[in-house]
């Protein structure tokens, strides 16, 4: 326990303290001019102390101070009903549901493609360049077109956003699973050959279990970019609901604190999702009898 404290918690806390200190310094530097100009318009002259207070408490600062963001998050989560249109919990849930749907679809699609690539020579020769090409297109460019096209054929709401998550998250799963399904050593494949095992048996008894560590590495990347995909998918919908909508409306009205609060919530959600995938990974590893210190 004390070991965990020393090796895991302290280093993280130390970095956090440095970041917060740097943040306050940057907020002061960036907001100072704004504060001084505002005071000059009102014909006031600010003392140094008053200038500091002002820089850290503006309504629309260039860079909000950390405590302003925390206060905004607190006000828009704990102090209001989660069904309120101004609640960040409500918006986070909208984005999260698209993220999870897209991630699920992306994982299934990724695994299916990898299985095809490993088992079918034609797919092996033809698919990979297209899979890679799909990721070279900027998601910001393709997202609005996808949303518009899907809207035109009557698909709107959750699914278009989820499909953008799918578009991003299938990629690490394909790459990881192709490598994972091909990871068994020759000696293990020879062994199955001597048993005259069928392709199905070879897959379920050797290839798939051997690919599990690769799958989880991919899922951790996939779940985080699924969230990004869902947020990007919300931007062109005209800012109705979701964390992306909060970012968009924040930038329309220069509400920097609102933007930062939404950004913080999205990174907290992403962190939680990766943490949950990591927890499932540890659980699966334990069920598969991994050596305790070999766990990721």
């Amino acid at each position: 326990m004390t070991n965990t404290l020393r090796t895991k918690i302290w280093p993280v806390l130390a970095v956090l303290v440095v970041i917060i200190a740097a943040w306050y310094a940057a907020a002061l530097l960036m907001n100072r001019t704004l504060a001084v100009e505002e005071a000059a318009r009102k014909g006031e002259v600010l003392t140094t102390g008053a200038m500091w207070l002002k820089a850290y408490s503006m309504d629309k600062p260039l860079l909000p101070a950390p405590h302003q963001i925390v206060t905004e998050i607190w006000n828009s989560t704990a102090t209001m009903s989660i069904t309120s249109k101004r609640s960040l919990v409500y918006h986070a849930w909208i984005t999260l549901s698209a993220t999870l749907l897209g991630f699920g679809l992306g994982t299934v699609l990724g695994i299916a493609l990898a299985v095809g690539i490993v088992h079918n020579l034609a797919m092996d020769k033809s698919m990979m360049p297209w899979v890679i090409a799909s990721q070279t297109i900027p998601i910001m460019a393709i997202a609005p077109m996808l949303i518009v096209v899907l809207n035109a054929i009557g698909i709107s709401g959750l699914l278009p956003k989820a499909l953008i998550s799918t578009y991003l998250s299938f990629f690490p799963v394909v790459v990881g699973m192709v490598k994972g399904l091909r990871s068994p050593e020759i000696i293990q494949l020879d062994l199955m050959h001597t048993y005259y095992a069928s392709r199905t048996q070879l897959f379920w008894k050797l290839r798939f279990p051997a690919a599990i560590p690769f799958l989880f590495a991919s899922l951790k990347v996939g779940i985080a970019i699924s969230l990004i995909g869902a947020i990007v998918g919300e931007l062109p919908t005209g800012a109705v609901a979701g964390l992306g909508a909060r970012l968009l409306s924040g930038s329309y009205y220069g509400q920097t604190i609102q933007i930062w609060a939404a950004l913080f919530v999205s990174s907290i959600v992403a962190g939680l999702l990766v943490f949950i995938v990591g927890g499932i990974e540890r659980l699966v590893y334990r069920m598969m009898g991994a050596r305790p210190e070999a766990q990721a």
């Binding site: 050593e185 000696i187 293990q188 020879d190 062994l191 199955m192 050959h193 001597t194 048993y195 005259y196 095992a197 048996q201 008894k205 050797l206 279990p209 599990i212 598969m288 009898g289 991994a290 050596r291 070999a294």
Partner: protein, 268 residues
């Protein structure tokens, strides 16, 4: 014609006539095996010995249908190696234990049984039986990493014994283990062979190991891989470890060494 003759010979488990295998590589053809004539009879313990590149592992892999011969004929249990493999008529033990790390020892032994469609009850019976054969009773619930290298290799032997194959093909199974563990496992392997009446083909590069274990020693040489001598052992079936200091043992070991020398295995 002679195919029929060979098939008629029921007690012949492996029968090779003029067997050859040439690998096509980027540097041109490599003659891994040439002109191998050999008859392995039921209940034999045959060792294949020779330096690396002599084709001993290749020959074992041809028996197992892991490689295809390019010349001559070979029958395994009276059929082609491919049919023998499809009939699951041999168990193969590799140089490394190749246990699946995500399966317990008993689940590893169950692997071929699951693939071959044995019932759950039958699986359990066979797991208990083979664990006892290799002296691993009580270790069934352990994962491979919890066992020593020697125990892992014994588990892989148990896995090869679990289904009804009368032929056991072993490719340097104890090559990676230290000499004390190897002595111990050699003794256990002889006991197991006596108890199960299996036919065993055993690849090794240790002269004492080959002489100690075998009823028949096949001495092989490289470039091209070929058989230079086949020695029928005169040692009794009962073999304590210290039989290795008797004049009879040393005489056979000497003949193996002469066979290796004749095949230029000691040349630079």
């Amino acid at each position: 014609m002679h195919w029929v003759n060979m098939a008629e010979n029921q007690s012949s488990v492996v029968s090779a006539k003029n067997l050859g295998l040439t690998f096509q590589t980027n540097d041109g053809p490599v003659n891994a095996l040439t002109g191998v004539n050999l008859d392995v009879r039921k209940g034999d313990f045959v060792s294949f010995i020779g330096p690396s590149g002599c084709g001993k592992t290749t020959f074992l892999r041809v028996i197992a249908d892991l490689e295809k011969a390019t010349e001559g004929q070979i029958l395994v249990n009276g059929t082609t190696p491919e049919d023998a493999r499809k009939n699951r008529s041999y168990g193969y033990v590799f140089q490394a234990a190749a246990l699946y790390p995500w399966r317990t020892i008993e689940k590893n032994i169950a692997l071929p049984l699951e693939i071959m469609g044995y019932s759950k009850d039958e699986q359990k019976k066979r797991i208990d039986h083979t664990l006892a054969l290799v002296n691993l009773t009580g270790f069934g619930k352990k994962y491979p990493w919890q066992l020593s290298g020697g125990m892992q290799q014994r588990a892989s032997i148990a896995r090869a014994l679990a289904f009804d194959a009368d032929l056991l093909l072993m490719d340097e199974p104890f090559g990676a283990l230290d000499e004390i563990v190897r002595d111990h496992l050699n003794l256990q392997l002889l006991e197991l062979w006596a108890r199960t009446n299996k036919t065993i083909c055993f690849v090794t590069h240790s002269i004492p190991e080959a002489v100690y274990l075998s009823t028949k020693i096949v001495v092989m040489s490289p470039r091209p891989g070929r058989v230079t001598d086949i020695i029928e052992s005169t040692l009794p079936k009962e073999r304590p470890l210290d039989i290795r200091e008797t004049p009879e043992f040393l005489a056979i070991a000497h003949r193996v060494r002469e066979g290796l020398k004749a095949g230029h295995s000691y040349d630079d």
